[in-house]
C-alpha cells in the first residue's frame, strides 16, 4: 500500500508538471536597472500600469546580490558582473519597492506603475 501510494503521488506530481509546460515568454516593454556600488540606477523606475513588462537587472558589482521584492514577488540571486531578467505581471498603479538583500542599506529602489 505504501509503495502504491507513493507511486500515485509521483504520478500526480508528474501530471502537474506536464500541465505546467514550460512557456517562459518575455512580455511587454523592457526596462533596465543597473546595480553599481550596491546602488540601483535609476532608484525609481516608472513603468506602464496594467501591462506585463520585462525587467532586466544588471549587476555591475564584483559581488553577488540577491534581488528581492515582496510586492513584485521576486527573489533571485544575481551573480557578480551578470544580469537577470524578470517578467513583471500586469501591475495595478502604485509603488513597488525592491532591495538588494545583501546590501539593504544602500541597494533599494522602487518601481512606479502609472
Amino acid at each position: 500500500m505504501t509503495y502504491s501510494t507513493f507511486k500515485r503521488l509521483m504520478g500526480a506530481i508528474t501530471c502537474a508538471a506536464c500541465f505546467a509546460t514550460y512557456t517562459s515568454v518575455s512580455a511587454g516593454e523592457a526596462y533596465t536597472l543597473t546595480l553599481k556600488d550596491h546602488r540601483f540606477e535609476p532608484a525609481q523606475l516608472t513603468i506602464k500600469a496594467e501591462t506585463p513588462a520585462t525587467l532586466v537587472v544588471k549587476n555591475l558589482d564584483a559581488t553577488p546580490e540577491e534581488f528581492e521584492s515582496k510586492t513584485l514577488r521576486i527573489e533571485k540571486i544575481i551573480p557578480a558582473n551578470s544580469e537577470a531578467s524578470f517578467t513583471i505581471r500586469a501591475l495595478k498603479a502604485g509603488r513597488y519597492k525592491f532591495v538588494g538583500e545583501f546590501h539593504e542599506d544602500s541597494a533599494k529602489g522602487e518601481l512606479i506603475a502609472e
Binding site: 500500500m1 505504501t2 501510494t5 507513493f6 503521488l9 509521483m10 500526480a12 506530481i13 505546467a20 509546460t21 514550460y22 512557456t23 517562459s24 515568454v25 558589482d61 564584483a62 559581488t63 553577488p64 546580490e65 540577491e66 515582496k70 510586492t71 514577488r73 521576486i74 527573489e75 533571485k76 540571486i77 544575481i78 551573480p79 557578480a80 551578470s82 537577470a84 531578467s85 524578470f86 517578467t87 505581471r89 538583500e101 545583501f102 539593504e104 542599506d105
Partner: protein, 275 residues
C-alpha cells in the same frame, strides 16, 4: 556585523527548524542521528557546489535555472515529507510498540529515515547556497571587513541553536502526543514548501496564471521578520501570497491529510478492564 548576522540567521532559520523537527521525529530510531548528520553534511557540501556554480545555474534554462532548481528542490522535499507521513501513519505504531519485531521495523524504518535525511539535506542545500554566496561576497569585496563575516558565522550558529531549541522543545511532549504533533507539523511544513515551490514556478514564468495577490498582511507581520520567518516555515505563512500559492497550499494540506487518513491503521480497541 549585526546586519550580516540577521541576513544569515534569516536564511538559516528554515533549515534550522527542519533539522530540529526531523531530529525529534526520528528520535529513538536506530542510526537516526547518523542519517541526519550525513544529510546535513551532504546538504552543506551541495550548497557550496551550488554557490560555486551559481553563475552557470542562473544562465541555464534561458535565465530561469535558479527558479527551476529551487522549485524542484522544494517539490522533492514535499514528496519526501508526504511519503514519510503516510508511511508513519501505517507503521509508526508498530515502530513504537512492537519491540519484538524490532528487526523488521528497523529495516523498513531506514527508508523513511532516508527520506527525512533527504529533506534535511535539501533544506540546507537551498538556504546554504545563499548564505555561502553572501559570505563569499563579503570576503571578495574586501570593503566590509571581517566583523561582517564574523556576524554571518554567528547567524549560522544561531540557526543551529534553533535546531537544538526545536528538538528539545518537541521532546518535552509526551511520546503519545508527539506522534500526532509531528505529523501535523510535517503536513503544514510540506504545504508551505509546496506553496514556495509554486511561487518559484510563477517567478520563472512557467505558470503565468493566478498571480493575483491573495492578501497583504505585510503591515502586520512581514515574513522578513524573525517571527514571520518562523511562521513561514512552520505553517507556510506568507504576507503577500499569490492566488496560486494559496491554492497549492490548501491542495497539499488536503492531499496529505487524506492520504494519511486512508492509509492509517486503526488502533485495535483494548478490552475494557472491569473495576
Amino acid at each position: 556585523m549585526l546586519g550580516a548576522l540577521i541576513i544569515v540567521f534569516r536564511e538559516a532559520i528554515e533549515a534550522g527548524l527542519i533539522v530540529g523537527i526531523v531530529l525529534a521525529v526520528t528520535r529513538g530510531l536506530v542510526h537516526a542521528r547518523t542519517y541526519i548528520f550525513v544529510g546535513v553534511g551532504a546538504g552543506a557540501g551541495g550548497a557550496l557546489l551550488v554557490a560555486l556554480f551559481a553563475d552557470a545555474l542562473s544562465k541555464s534554462f534561458s535565465g530561469n535555472g535558479q527558479e527551476l532548481f529551487n522549485a524542484s528542490i522544494l517539490a522533492l522535499a514535499v514528496i519526501m515529507l508526504a511519503w514519510h507521513n503516510i508511511w508513519m501513519s501505517r507503521h509508526g505504531r508498530e515502530l513504537s510498540q512492537q519491540l519484538s519485531t524490532v528487526g523488521r521495523a528497523v529495516a523498513s524504518g531506514e527508508r523513511t529515515l532516508l527520506a527525512l535525511a533527504g529533506v534535511v539535506g535539501l533544506a540546507i542545500l537551498r538556504e546554504g547556497s545563499e548564505v555561502a554566496l553572501f559570505l563569499y561576497g563579503v570576503i571578495a569585496s574586501g570593503e566590509t571587513g571581517y566583523d561582517v563575516f564574523f556576524g554571518g558565522l554567528l547567524g549560522l550558529a544561531l540557526g543551529a541553536a534553533v535546531s537544538f531549541a526545536t528538538f528539545y522543545g518537541l521532546i518535552k511532549i509526551p511520546p503519545r502526543s508527539l506522534f500526532v504533533v509531528t505529523s501535523w507539523l510535517i503536513t503544514f511544513l510540506a504545504a508551505g514548501l509546496a506553496a514556495q515551490s509554486a511561487a518559484f514556478l510563477q517567478q520563472a514564468g512557467v505558470i503565468t496564471m493566478l498571480t493575483e495577490t491573495l492578501w497583504d498582511t505585510s503591515w502586520a507581520l512581514s515574513d522578513k521578520t524573525i517571527l514571520g520567518r518562523v511562521l513561514h516555515t512552520l505553517i507556510g505563512y506568507s504576507d503577500q501570497p499569490s492566488l496560486l500559492q494559496g491554492l497549492v497550499y490548501l491542495l497539499t494540506l488536503i492531499l496529505i491529510y487524506t492520504a494519511t487518513k486512508f492509509t492509517a491503521v486503526r488502533p485495535k480497541l483494548e478490552p475494557r478492564l472491569s473495576p
